[in-house]
């Protein structure tokens, strides 16, 4: 099958998001409906025209409930993608494939989340006895996602000489970007290197500021064909390339049982992403890299080919991931660590804004905009490009 079946055939034409914050009074279903409604208004498309839906398996709101409340039409495509933070770009990619293959004309993808929701924090739920994967780590106090990633981080530091200064580069860059984004939840709080180095530990070698936020909110995107996109209000963000990634012998999050645990799902997704694209990593002008934890940034920089193995830490030195002068501005809305953590779906919207030219930390003339989902779990990535057609 030719990769051109998807390449440049579809576009994100609408984006919508609710308030992002803590303790929002709205239900998750209400938040989802609000975000979908805002995205449709942004696209200039009526709810009755929506005939496809794509969401996370961890999404608490069912398709039937969202479709009924927003007044969507006859739905002929609906799909879900698994593995939590790895799903975001996959959801959007499935929407693009549905349109490119004629299964739907207008597809909405969304994520709604409240931090207090039980479904949002499975690690906090105590089970009577552990089945399967949890057996191998939980009894030893490797309890939370941060513990699981801290274990990989320590090994990464050992093998490649990565340092806490590299991780601080990440946290500080994203906080600076958040400060320029009025919709971010942490932009009002500056973060210095001293703040980072003096922060309390969460799971050594990771401290408080290596962790993403916990945020309530919902975000949605609307996709349709590239042809129709040209008649809609906003510049289309073309889906130029899309890939998912699940490597051999992978165990999500606790991926210590494979030959090379530091070569994660990003490497698998990257192979397909670049093979199906007309451009390469060197052409990417701005990237939104999934940042549930700061060490995922060096790992993703390596996996997607922005630098060689082990050079992801030094890559972040000298402001290289900071807007406006860095060689690759990363997470220009503040990302999961400083804008909001909604399972990485806010990164998708920021990737679209960079193509539209409407980011609060806009990269001049951005035409190639990468978005990735969670490294460390079966993942996905999308390359958005500007429509030159």
């Amino acid at each position: 099958m030719s990769p051109t079946l998807v390449k440049n055939r579809t576009a994100v034409v609408g984006i919508g998001q609710t308030t992002l914050g803590k303790g929002l009074p709205d239900t998750e279903l209400s938040l989802a409906c609000q975000a979908v409604s805002l995205a449709l208004d942004d696209a200039g498309i009526a709810p009755s025209e929506v005939d496809g839906l794509a969401s996370f398996t961890m999404e608490p709101n069912r398709e039937v409930d969202v479709a009924r409340a927003v007044g969507l039409g006859d739905i002929t495509f609906f799909s879900q993608v698994g593995f939590g933070g790895g799903a975001g770009c996959g959801v959007v990619g499935h929407a693009a494939m549905a349109i490119a293959t004629g299964q739907a004309n207008v597809v909405v993808a969304w994520r709604a989340r409240k931090r207090a929701s039980a479904a949002s924090r499975p690690w906090a739920q105590v089970q009577a006895r552990l089945a399967e994967a949890g057996q191998w780590t939980r009894p030893f106090g490797i309890l939370r996602p941060v513990d699981e990633i801290a274990m990989l981080t320590r090994r990464y530091m050992h093998e490649y000489g990565g340092t806490r200064d590299h991780l601080a580069n990440v946290a500080i860059a994203f906080r600076k970007h958040a400060a320029r984004n009025p919709n971010s939840t942490m932009g009002h709080k500056p973060l210095t290197r001293d703040d980072y180095m003096n922060a309390r530990w969460i799971s050594e070698p990771l401290c408080l500021f290596d962790n993403c936020l916990e945020t309530d909110g919902a975000l949605a995107v609307v996709l349709t064909s590239a042809e129709r996109a040209r008649d809609l209000p906003h510049p289309p963000a073309l889906i130029h390339s899309f890939a998912q990634g699940l490597p051999p012998n992978h165990q999500t999050m606790t991926n210590y049982f494979t030959e090379d645990p530091l070569r994660g799902p990003a490497w698998t997704a990257a192979q397909r992403l670049w093979a199906n694209a007309d451009v390469g990593a060197a052409d990417v002008q701005v990237a939104q890299l999934y940042d549930a934890f700061s060490p995922l940034i060096p790992l993703s920089l390596e996996g997607y080919g922005f630098c060689a193995r082990g050079e992801g830490g030094p890559f972040t030195d000298n402001g290289a991931i900071e807007w406006p002068d860095g060689r690759l501005p990363v997470n220009t809305s503040g990302g999961g660590m400083s804008e909001a953590y909604v399972h990485g779906f806010n990164l998708v919207l920021e990737g679209v804004r960079q193509i539209r030219g409407t980011s609060t930390s806009q990269v001049d003339g951005a035409e190639v905009s990468l978005v990735t989902s969670g490294e460390g779990v079966p993942t996905s990535a999308i390359l958005f490009t500007k429509d030159r057609g």
């Binding site: 399967e132 994967a133 274990m151």
Partner: protein
């Protein structure tokens, strides 16, 4: 507080052989009965020859620390009581691709926070010991 510890389901058909080994004082690894490939965590088919026949082979019980963490609160109450404690990944001496999570302790029934984390290093040699909680024998590691 150990009643609130997170413990494995010993009835899990795919993994019971491991925990039976621990109860017998042996660190066993699921091994393909057809081609001999060791695999951890266990799985119902051999990823090399696709046999579904397995045996549980004893190992040396010796290994090296592959990585370690020191968790701090917020944690589940049973674990918060010991925080900061260590958790480690050990690679098996005779097959470094076979790895186990555990805790570094001074003795089998010692607390998971009794080793000074500043003295833990990747590459240190360790040997398995077993610590019983309820009906589960958890593998733990002491320096060797």
């Amino acid at each position: 507080m150990e009643t609130a510890w997170l413990l494995p389901d010993l009835e899990d058909e795919n993994t019971a052989g491991f925990w039976e080994g621990c109860a017998a004082g042996e660190l066993r690894v699921q091994t393909c009965a057809s081609c001999g490939l060791r695999r951890m965590p266990p799985r119902p088919m051999c990823s090399r020859c696709r046999s579904i026949d397995v045996r549980w082979e004893p190992t040396s019980g010796r290994g090296r620390i592959w990585s370690f963490i020191v968790p701090h609160p917020p944690l589940l109450p049973a674990f918060a009581e010991y925080a900061p404690y260590n958790a480690i990944i050990v690679e098996l001496e005779e097959d470094p691709l076979i790895r186990f999570a555990g805790n570094l302790v001074a003795s089998a029934d010692g607390a998971i926070n009794e080793i000074d984390p500043a003295t833990i290093e990747i590459g240190q040699s360790v040997s398995v010991v077993f610590h019983q909680i309820e009906d589960v024998h958890l593998p733990r590691w002491v320096r060797s």
